[in-house]
Amino acid sequence: FIHILCVGFLAVSSEDPFLTSSSLPTCLPFASSQSVPLPFPMAHGTTTLAFMFQGGVMAAADTRSSCSGLVACPASQKILPIHSHLVGLTSGTSADCALWKRILARELRLYQLRHGRRLSTSGAAKLLSHMLHPFKGTELCVAATLCGWDGGETGPGSRGETTKNQMTELFYVCSDGTRLRGMLFSVGSGSPYAYSILDQGVHWGLSVDEAKSIAREAVYRATYRDAYSGNCVDMYHITSKGWTRRNREDLKEEYYREKERRKHEKTERRDVTFSD
């Protein structure tokens, strides 16, 4: 039988103001047999996390890009700033994530230029979710966590209460259609290890230093146990003034510090004689 390869522009509805000038990929993969087969099963080999607290949003991620058993890149960037007050954490296929981050950044900038105000984080999440929707069921794999601060630039249509509009937002958007708002998210193969640390220590009243230390600890524990997470940890802190980036820290140092500590324990353990 004949394989029909459909080539055409993505049909854009006229009432959708955001996509009128989009140049989304022109050929949608209609049948997976016609696209490039996956070389190995995607398993979101990463650890990214983000949580909200009184001082804003703390986002942290490891920096290992893995390709089945190979560490393809030990210094990749999984936290991508989208604009001054919005940061996206990515998990899944790094190529897809990099592309969609750029598309989202462009769409948000266009919105800002057209309407004179920034799109809220929840709007950005909805936009991303709708843009990813046509690819549902294909091999596209993007799991993004959007962390942002809304408010501050009030347009003519906003209400007078500035406190209500200014808030941190945390959204999880996935290429299978999930869009969730929450206070704490961790994505990737290392996420269970991070979740238990975060559940223990995260609460609204954390100070900035405490939040940094718990985020770092959670990523470190995930890299300790998960094979697909590792190398360094990146941390971003989003507040009303925008995002600030902490220096990338190599977790190898932390690992060796802990190993030293355990070695001391081992020597004192050998000295103990078991009675009875």
């Binding site: 009184q54 269970p192 290890y193 991070a194 979740y195 238990s196 640390i197 559940d199 223990q200 609460h203 609204w204 009243g205 600890e217 959670a218 524990r221 995930a222 300790y224 146990r225 998960d226 324990e265 081992k266 004192e268 353990r269 103990v272 078991f274 009675s275 009875d276």
Partner: protein, 302 residues
């Protein structure tokens, strides 16, 4: 090998006692299940009556299966064994670790069957003898059976030889007993936690793994427990701290994992034997934790 001799663990032709009826090409004939699953144990003739024989079902890759006469019964691929209703995923959280005060073993109490909580109050930690406790994961039925078999074998050894089998030898014995079932659908992952001249923790799995270590956590909730354990586990923990750490690790796992939950069981093994802490419902802990976080939020806002 001495152990092999004691257990008469040689390759014996499997007794096809239950294949006595002839026409079995037809899958519609009901299989006499009572005979198939009847593990009648025979004492061996040459050795001092070590009853470690099973009527091992002819496994596809064992020699007896290949060598059987072709005219006899040939089980079609999946029709005669019970079909698995859902995929086994070790839906549990069990953990064990060693510290200066002995060994702690902890587990949740939820038995799940696919999406159903089949039983919210199961015992996943079973004492084998006064100084050995085993935590189980995998198929609940298989684990219960193998715990009983292990208890019996250890007791028999003790009666025959006058001293208890060491924990490492127990693990080896268990591993060799599980070996014939490798490749079948049996799923057993046990962690032996005990004391013999020092705290011991050994993980034995029906895949064949047998590992000694300082900390093990098994089951679908194990990554969550590992995060908490890795962070705070030290050799120098006090007994109270160790118990609270084990409890916290199981609680965090039950919080995030759907297949773990309900209560937490805790055993503490020392040179004097094992002692069991009262079973605790984690629902209370959840509400306490929620309140604590709420209070911290209010304190900060003031």
């Amino acid at each position: 090998m001495a152990l092999e001799d004691v257990c008469s663990f040689k390759e014996r032709p499997v007794q096809h006692k239950w294949f006595s009826f002839s026409s079995l090409g037809d899958a519609a004939i009901p299989f006499p299940k009572s005979d198939y699953y009847n593990l009648r144990l025979e004492t061996s003739e040459n050795n001092c009556g070590v009853p470690l024989h099973f009527f091992i079902p002819p496994l596809p890759h064992s020699s007896s299966f290949i060598n059987r006469p072709l005219s006899s019964f040939c089980p079609p691929k999946n029709s005669m064994t019970v079909q698995r209703p859902f995929r086994l995923a070790h839906g549990t959280t069990t953990l064990g670790f060693i510290f200066q005060g002995g060994v702690i073993a902890a587990a949740d109490t939820r038995a799940s069957a696919g999406g159903l909580v089949a039983c919210p109050a199961v015992h996943k930690i079973t004492p084998i003898h006064s100084h050995l406790v085993v935590t189980s994961s995998g198929s609940g039925a298989d684990c219960m059976l193998w715990e009983r078999i292990l208890i019996r074998e250890i007791r028999l050894y003790q009666l025959r030889h006058g001293h208890r089998l060491s924990i490492r030898a127990t693990a080896k014995l268990l591993s060799s007993m599980l070996h014939p079932f490798k490749g079948t659908e049996m799923c057993v992952a046990l962690t032996l936690c005990g004391w013999d001249n020092g705290p011991k923790l050994i993980y034995v799995c029906s895949d064949g793994a047998r590992l000694q270590g300082d900390v093990f956590s098994v089951g679908s909730g194990s990554p969550y427990a590992y995060g908490v354990l890795d962070r705070e586990l030290r050799w120098s923990l006090s007994k109270g701290e160790a118990i609270s750490l084990a409890r916290e690790a199981v609680f965090r796992a039950t919080h995030r994992d759907a297949y773990s939950g309900n209560n937490v069981d805790l055993f503490h093994i020392t040179a004097q034997g094992w002692s069991q802490r009262k079973r605790e419902d984690l629902k209370e802990e959840y509400y306490r934790d929620k309140e604590k976080k709420g209070k911290k939020k209010n304190d900060k806002l003031k």
